[in-house]
């Protein structure tokens, strides 16, 4: 692996960089500070980024997961002084979509706020080197010191592929190393590369010869030539991938398995998650009692238990279910099944006029609408992108899970339907997920046939090979997601429920706390009650709706606090208190309201950012809330008349 130069190219490209980078051409820098990770989509850049920096960017087994640049320090190879930039995947330096433009701008040093990189780590997927090499020419032509990394080297060798690495280094005029980012193998080559760049400047002075590449076809020809001269033998396509696809994409079995997978996800979340939640609930109750017991004064005990602990506990107990959901989604993402799901669902997507590429952002909206809306940057067509942004919040994110689970567990009997396989509770949950999905489809249809009419963009999807999800990747993901949830509960929800509790005991009369109905919050609740009465909601739910505009899971904390503060329901658990206070119609109307309503400030903020206007998020909020109100009204009235 040396910096040789001996190719039969047609033009010599001098290594010095343009003046924009702030360095004189004849003076090689003695120190580098910024390194960029470049490569085609789904070649493993973010996995490597996470390895090198110890950070945790989202990774998955499909193209287009990273849509903007991320920064980290290269502590993973002992160089915490160097900044590493992770970029969205690109096929070439001429690009059409927003995420790819980010990558190209950063590389050219044109991205405000991002330093121009001093060196490049070019990551290529060793399984598809023929076509991945096409990116090597324009990237090397940038003239930056470059280390070429052939990722998934272990898979390539296991499947009978091979390549002459030294010959490739000669052809490219850049050092080449084989790595395996998921297992962290071969990273020492990266350490040597950056250390040498900061150490001896001569290591850089290698004039590189590459052909001038105007169009894709000649670029392709060059890449083919290079892979032929380096004896590249592509690995046989994985036998397992073919065999699995024969079943998973089968005419009959494929859709059935798809359906089974979807149902299975809910069954796991309920059958395994609910007992865990109940167990956590007991533990937290005892912990809360013990914690309150520490304080000597009665009013302090009340403050700790009613003001702080009740609301937090009501939300925190859903942690097991949320983690389970992320585990299953993570397994589907990392294994490569999601790309197949996109293929199976393409027909539906097309019938509503949505871009095939919209499928993956919409699917990831099941985890959270915020990254999903950012992931729409991979959609080239502006109108298609806008439509996808506007419908993404209808997809059921885990923040709805607490209120869904609470209401279902309180109001739906635990009965089996379809034998022992499928419970009634899971069925209701599945119905709510379907409801959100149908609202998204209907809205997309509406938008595409009116304000956002556009010719349909093509569906071009590469099916990645199936891979085993690694324990490390799953573990990190759960840790992160759990951390976000706990942090949110410990900060936002804690603050909201505390303020609500305070408002529920003021104003004081002669040193006594106000009764709940006489308190500020009680008066406000009763003031808005007429508007929500037809939906089957009482004033406590109304306060919950108001407070959950911040984030959906806040409602559970609010209900926990308010029912805990009410003497009539103080001694009951939250589920029993709700059964005592609401009808089935009201309960189901509440979950239907949450299926549709836009109760999330983070999503509104990201829509504002991505659309560059307040017009879209405002319209989205009004539309979704209006739809939620009407649907909840319908649900309550329907159930009232059925009973």
């Amino acid at each position: 692996m040396s910096d040789c130069c001996d190719t039969g190219g047609t033009v010599t490209l001098a290594p010095p960089r343009s003046k924009k980078r702030g360095q004189a051409p004849d003076q090689t820098p003695s120190k580098i500070s910024t390194v960029a990770l470049v490569g085609p989509p789904n070649c493993g850049k973010s996995t490597l980024f996470n390895r090198l920096t110890g950070l945790r960017q989202k990774v998955a087994n499909y193209p287009g997961v990273t849509v903007e640049q991320h920064f980290g320090r290269m502590g993973g190879v002992g160089r915490g002084d160097l900044v590493l930039i992770d970029l969205p995947g690109i096929h070439s330096l001429h690009t059409f979509s927003e995420d790819a433009r980010v990558a190209v701008d950063v590389l050219h040093g044109n991205m405000p706020g991002t330093p121009a990189p001093d060196a490049v780590l070019l990551v290529l997927d060793a399984l598809h080197l023929n076509r991945q090499l096409m990116l090597a020419a324009p990237v090397l032509a940038l003239g930056l010191p470059t280390l070429v990394l052939l990722n998934m080297a272990d898979l390539m060798e296991a499947q009978g592929g091979k390549i002459d690495v030294l010959a490739l280094a000669r052809e490219l005029g850049a050092p080449v190393a084989m790595i395996c980012a998921t297992k962290g193998k071969g990273l020492d080559a990266i350490a040597r590369f950056v250390n040498r760049l900061s150490g001896s400047p001569e290591a850089l002075a290698a004039p590189v010869q590459l052909p001038v590449l105007q169009n894709v076809a000649s670029c392709r020809q060059w890449a083919n030539g290079v892979s032929a001269r380096t004896n590249y033998k592509a690995p046989l396509s994985s036998l397992w991938t073919r065999r699995l696809d024969a079943v998973l994409l089968h005419k009959v079995w494929g859709p059935l398995i798809f359906l089974g997978v979807v149902i299975g996800v809910f069954q796991v979340v309920f059958a395994a998650g609910l007992p865990l939640s109940n167990w956590l609930d007991k533990i937290l109750s005892q912990a809360g009692g013990a914690l309150a017991g520490i304080f000597p004064a009665h009013w302090l005990q009340v403050l700790v238990r009613d003001g702080v602990w009740n609301g937090m506990q009501a939300v925190m107990i859903f942690l097991p279910q949320i983690l389970l959901l992320f585990l299953v989604i993570g397994i589907l993402e990392d294994s490569g099944y999601l790309a197949r799901a996109a293929l199976i669902a393409d027909r539906v997507m097309r019938s509503i006029g949505l871009n095939g590429k919209a499928f993956i952002p919409l699917l990831s909206a099941y985890a959270c609408a915020v990254p999903a809306i950012m992931a729409t940057r991979t959609i080239e067509n502006k109108r298609d992108r806008m439509a996808t942004i506007l419908v993404a919040p209808f997809m059921t994110c885990p923040a709805r899970l607490p209120i869904y689970t609470l209401m279902i567990a309180a109001f739906i009997p635990d009965r089996h339907i379809l034998g022992d396989l499928f419970g009634m509770r899971a069925a209701v949950m599945l119905g709510l997920y379907l409801l959100g999905f149908l609202a998204a489809l209907g809205t997309a249809r509406l938008l595409k046939s009116s304000v956002l009419k556009a010719s349909s963009a093509p569906f071009i999807l590469e099916l990645p090979q199936y891979r085993w999800p690694t324990f490390r990747s799953m573990g990190l993901r759960l840790l992160d997601r759990g951390g976000v949830f706990v942090k949110q509960t410990g900060t936002v929800i804690l603050a909201v429920t505390f303020v609500l509790w305070l408002l529920s005991i003021v104003p004081f009369h002669a040193g006594e706390m106000a009764s709940l109905t006489g308190s500020v919050i009680g008066r406000l609740g009763h003031f808005i009650e007429p508007a929500i009465r037809p939906l089957g909601f009482n004033w406590k739910v109304g306060i919950g709706l108001l407070s959950s505009v911040i984030a959906r899971e806040v409602i559970v904390g609010t209900l926990g606090t308010l029912y805990g503060a009410d003497p009539a329901t103080h001694s009951l658990g939250l589920q029993a208190a709700l059964r005592h206070d609401l009808t089935l119609g009201g309960a189901m109307a509440l979950v239907v309201f949450f299926a549709f309503a836009m109760q999330c400030t983070s999503t509104l903020a990201v829509v504002r950012r991505e659309t560059n206007s307040w017009k879209w998020p405002a319209a989205q909020f009004l539309y979704m809330t209006g739809l939620a109100y009407i649907a909840a009204l319908g649900t309550n009235q329907l159930l009232l008349h059925l009973h």
Partner: protein
């Protein structure tokens, strides 16, 4: 079967058959993307399987498996259609 072996465009290529890509007649952006994914004239392409709904179709080109809708594949011309050998299909 002999009649179907005269496919002129990729979307008409029967499953389990190979062809040589001749030309792409698509908007520049799409064409560029396809070329990068390996749909280059002179390359052999194999129609591997169709999605359960009958569309899109998964094509095997240059060791990668890529799904295209009929509406895209019908603008890709192919020549020398033949049945793929069993090794390629496995």
């Amino acid at each position: 079967m002999a009649a179907t072996l005269h496919a002129k465009v990729l979307s008409d290529l029967p499953i389990g058959c190979c062809a040589t890509l001749a030309a792409l007649d698509l908007p520049e952006a799409i064409q560029g993307q396809l070329l990068h994914l390996g749909f280059v004239p002179e390359t052999r392409v194999l129609a591997l399987r169709r999605a359960p709904a009958g569309d899109p179709t998964v094509y095997c080109v240059d060791g990668a498996e890529i799904a295209l809708r009929r509406e895209t594949a019908q603008f890709i011309a192919v020549t020398s259609v033949c049945k793929a050998d069993r090794e390629a299909l496995r």
